[in-house]
């Protein structure tokens, strides 16, 4: 087998109840166009569904779109659940309607990147390129 460059895989998902997935789709599309492989789960995902999808697809990062106001619950709980599974090396980032005051708290909880409405797509792509690498696998 030839030595090949590994692809970066990203899970883009919409947790919880809000039903607006345009933002998530736009980001998924932009990441695809930047050469990433994006697994898209669709709407209304429970955190357990997200964790299991991340396990099965062996993603390097999870991007969440949250417009419901539940970000202070969703992000820390997801990160906790990932830790329980030994998956703390998966990069968690997200976007949506998030008050700027909450951002430091989320970062402290382990969210690596927060993107507010109006963020240029290039900025998100650059950030992903810099911060997400294929997770190493040891047999």
């Amino acid at each position: 087998m030839e030595e090949k460059e590994r692809k970066i895989k990203i899970l883009i998902t919409k947790p919880g109840l809000d039903g607006h997935d345009r933002g998530a789709k736009v980001v998924a599309r932009a990441l695809r166009d930047a050469g990433f492989e994006v697994v898209y789960t669709g709407l209304h995902q429970s955190l357990d569904q997200i964790v299991h999808a991340a396990i099965e697809e062996d993603v390097d990062a999870i991007g969440l779109s949250i417009l419901s106001g539940a970000h202070m619950y969703i992000f820390p709980t997801l990160i906790e659940k990932l830790k329980e599974q030994g998956l703390e090396d998966i990069v968690v980032f997200g976007g949506g309607i998030i008050p700027t005051d909450d951002i430091p708290k989320l970062e402290k909880a382990g969210v690596r990147g927060i993107f507010l409405p109006g963020t240029p797509l290039e900025e998100i792509i650059e950030w992903v390129k810099e911060n997400v690498k294929p997770r190493p696998v040891t047999l």
């Binding site: 090949k4 166009d33 050469g35």
Partner: protein, 340 residues
């Protein structure tokens, strides 16, 4: 079933690394059915890194057990929704189920959006269902290059039924027949007149036809066209008469009948000895692909290593040589004698 013995080649950095310890982990866990370990190994396989081959070597003795169903058909025919329903049925029967869903890679960016999971996410937390999305990564034929190897991993982890969903296909992406025991072609009413139905290609590969969205008024016409197509053609060599079923995946109609048809085909495969011979064919298929890769790689390394490659291309480009003569002049010394 053979023992999982692994041959160690001296001097191979990966094997010696593994022999030194810390490593039996992932494979052992995988063989016990551990999802996380299996997912990690599949990722290696998907990325085609050298460790992947090491893993596949060790898993090989545990493969060849699963019943593999291929699901193919045009984009939007409802393949994912149908897989979702079939997963539910197989789970009711107590089967452990694997799904490999392939979506296309963008030829421009190399990226992909893998969205087949959307229709199946309700099974995500079921420990007896493993769903893996794959991007084609430039491979033609409806599957990705890693598909056969990912199936090997799922097989070894103990999935009794593995469903492989191809990309939305046109008329000629028929790789799935080499991979699947039972090939299901999913179509929908209103895609074209009866001339479409006699075209070669994907319509010839179906063991089972599913006319999805069967609640549409034109569904019966599509069924009749398929029936006529089958009547006009010569009987199949293997003696199987393809079933044609009207299904509505989203409404859950016709699913029981589809399960019945799958069961019938599986029994047909087992009683006719094909279940065994397909496994032999599949090994040959995997081996031939590896052989092709190896020969190509060996030849290219040799040609590029001594600068001949660029020289030859220049000769052809300037019309002093032509590719057809050059290929005849190349003597392949590949050293293919089996070792040990």
């Amino acid at each position: 079933m053979g023992e999982g013995k692994r041959e160690t080649q001296a001097g191979d950095p990966i094997t010696s690394f593994i022999a030194e310890g810390q490593s039996m982990g992932l494979i052992d866990q995988l063989l016990k059915g551990d999802e996380k370990a299996a997912a990690r190994v599949m990722r290696l396989v998907e990325d085609g890194v050298p460790e992947a081959r090491e893993a596949l070597k060790r898993l090989y003795p545990y493969t060849g057990r699963a019943y593999i169903i291929g699901i193919t058909g045009p984009p939007g025919a409802g393949k994912s929704s149908l897989v979702d329903k079939l997963v539910e049925e197989f789970r009711k029967e107590g089967e452990s189920v694997g799904v490999v869903a392939v979506d296309p890679t963008s030829p421009f960016s190399g990226g992909a959006i893998l969205g087949d999971r959307i229709r199946m996410q309700r099974h995500s937390t079921d420990p007896n269902v493993f769903i893996k999305s794959l991007a084609t990564r430039g491979h033609l034929g409806g599957l990705s290059k890693a598909t056969d190897d990912v199936i090997q991993v799922m097989d070894a982890m103990g999935k009794g039924v593995i469903m492989v969903e191809t990309v939305g296909v046109g008329q000629d992406e028929v790789d799935i027949v080499k991979t699947a025991d039972t090939t299901m072609v999913v179509t929908v009413p209103g895609l074209g007149d009866d001339i479409q139905a006699i075209k070669a290609g994907i319509l010839e590969i179906a063991d089972i036809f599913v006319v999805n969205k069967g609640d549409k008024p034109e569904a019966d016409k599509t069924i009749r066209e398929l029936e006529m197509m089958l009547e006009m053609g010569a009987p199949r060599e293997d003696g199987w008469k393809p079933a044609i079923l009207k299904v509505s995946a989203t409404k859950g109609e016709g699913i029981k009948e589809l399960m019945g048809a799958l069961k019938k085909h599986r029994i047909f495969l087992e009683t006719s000895g094909r279940f065994e011979s397909y496994r032999r064919d599949r090994v040959a298929h995997i081996f031939e692909n590896l052989l092709r890769d190896k020969l190509f790689h060996t030849a290219m390394t040799k040609l590029k290593g001594n600068g001949t490659y660029d020289e030859l291309i220049n000769e052809m480009f300037s019309k002093r040589e032509n590719p057809y003569s050059v290929i005849e002049k190349l003597h392949c010394q590949c050293g293919l004698e089996a070792k040990g």
